[in-house]
Amino acid sequence: MIELIVFLVLLALGYGFGRLSESRHYRSIFQREQALRSIAVVPIKIPPPEYLRHNSTLVSGSVVISVDYFKTVVASLRNIFGGRVGAYESLLDRARREAILRMQEEARELGAETIYNVKYETSRIGENAAKGLGSVEVLAYGTALIACPDSK
């Protein structure tokens, strides 16, 4: 009985706080994506010739987001029924977009206008990862192009 109460309390806390932090995070993501739209992020490996006189430097953005208890329960149930794990999709979507935003913020501070050769890396961290409770890290990195005064 006590186990069930603990389970339900953790579930309710996970759902409540998880939804709250997720909606807050998405609001922040929407605003910042809009604000940083001018820093173009492209995956191509070689910049066009007109950028050959630009300075270039590595920029990166990294984020770690924890899985809440409710999401682990839903994902664990999904393991039985199969199908799309929506609970984790939102987690990774947030993490990817946040990592890009942080990378863009670094680029903006350096005065860059474009980041090319952008790549992602995703990994799971956390001591309780084996139990489904863990955190996900997303790292985005690329080469920022900074216009030289004499290149303009």
Binding site: F7, I39, A40, E50, Y51, V74, L77, G86, R96, K131
Partner: protein, 278 residues
């Protein structure tokens, strides 16, 4: 070719459809609960029908307690319990070879049956009952478990639930926990049904032997008096029906004329052995 001047504004919902996970949870948890309850019911239903077909000789002989009786007095008590049980068993019973084990060192008032036709009686139980009738009720109840093949039913149910747990995850995952909890609750529901069936059969055996079932509630009255929590214990996780419910059932089984019948006392030597005034 040139770089774009700004990032395009992509539509939302490509990588994350923003579904409410609560709806997902309710559907999946509900389906899992229903499935486990349905399978548990099938296992319980099947086990109660398969168990009687399993030959009694196949039951593993499982017993606890001292293999040799320590003192002459313990030997005498063990023989008395064995004889009383033998007297309660109908002459035409299919299972008549029962071994009663006396556990003189256990203070908790308890008796239990194990597979292979073994009944165990603790010292605490003899302290709890006031008359032979009260003791006979407990022995008859345990014999009823054996006669109704409850140890086999329990074994089959546990095998079934272990299989479900293996399929859904025997680890600490949440789905595994939900399955195990639901399975356990189902097992307890079947256990309570078995206890009720054993009580009912025990009353029949008492009526056949004594001609009445007075005194059958002695142990349960003792539990209510000594265990403050017993009056409130009822729930999905309990292996036995509520003590009060069992007393009410036993009272309902008494015949009108039973109130005038005197109870058969425990033998004087046993009262002395229990350090009580006969």
């Amino acid at each position: 070719m040139s770089f774009p001047k700004e990032n395009p504004q992509l539509p939302e919902g490509i990588n994350n459809q923003h579904d409410n996970p609560f709806v997902d949870f309710v559907i999946m948890a509900g389906a899992l609960l229903l499935a486990v309850v349905a399978i548990s019911f099938l296992i319980g239903w099947g086990a109660t029908r398969i168990a009687p077909a399993v030959p009694f000789e196949w039951e593993p002989n499982l017993s606890f307690g001292p293999s040799d009786v320590s003192s002459e007095q313990d030997q005498r008590i063990a023989e008395y319990l064995q004889q009383l049980t033998r007297d309660l068993i109908p002459h035409d019973a299919d299972i008549s070879e029962i071994n009663v084990h006396w556990l003189p060192d256990i203070e908790a008032a308890n008796a239990f049956a194990t597979s292979g036709g073994n009944i165990h009686v603790t010292r605490g139980l003899l302290d709890a009952v006031k008359s032979e009738n009260g003791l006979a009720m407990v022995l008859a109840h345990e014999y009823a478990h054996i006669e109704l093949r409850h140890p086999v039913v329990l074994m089959l149910e546990q095998i079934g639930h272990t299989l479900i747990a293996l399929v859904t995850g025997f680890d600490n995952s949440s789905a595994g926990a939900i399955t195990q909890q639901t399975g356990f609750i189902s097992l307890m529901a079947f256990s309570r049904d078995m206890e009720r069936a054993a009580d009912e059969r025990a009353v029949t055996l008492l009526n056949a032997y004594y001609g009445h079932s007075r005194g059958s509630e002695e142990l349960f009255e003792h539990i209510l008096q000594t265990d403050k929590d017993a009056a409130h214990q009822w729930g999905l996780w309990q292996s036995h029906p509520a003590t009060q419910e069992r007393i009410e059932f036993l009272e309902s089984q008494k015949k009108g004329e039973d109130t005038h019948v005197s109870l058969r006392p425990l033998p004087d030597w046993l009262e002395k052995a229990l350090n009580r005034e006969p």
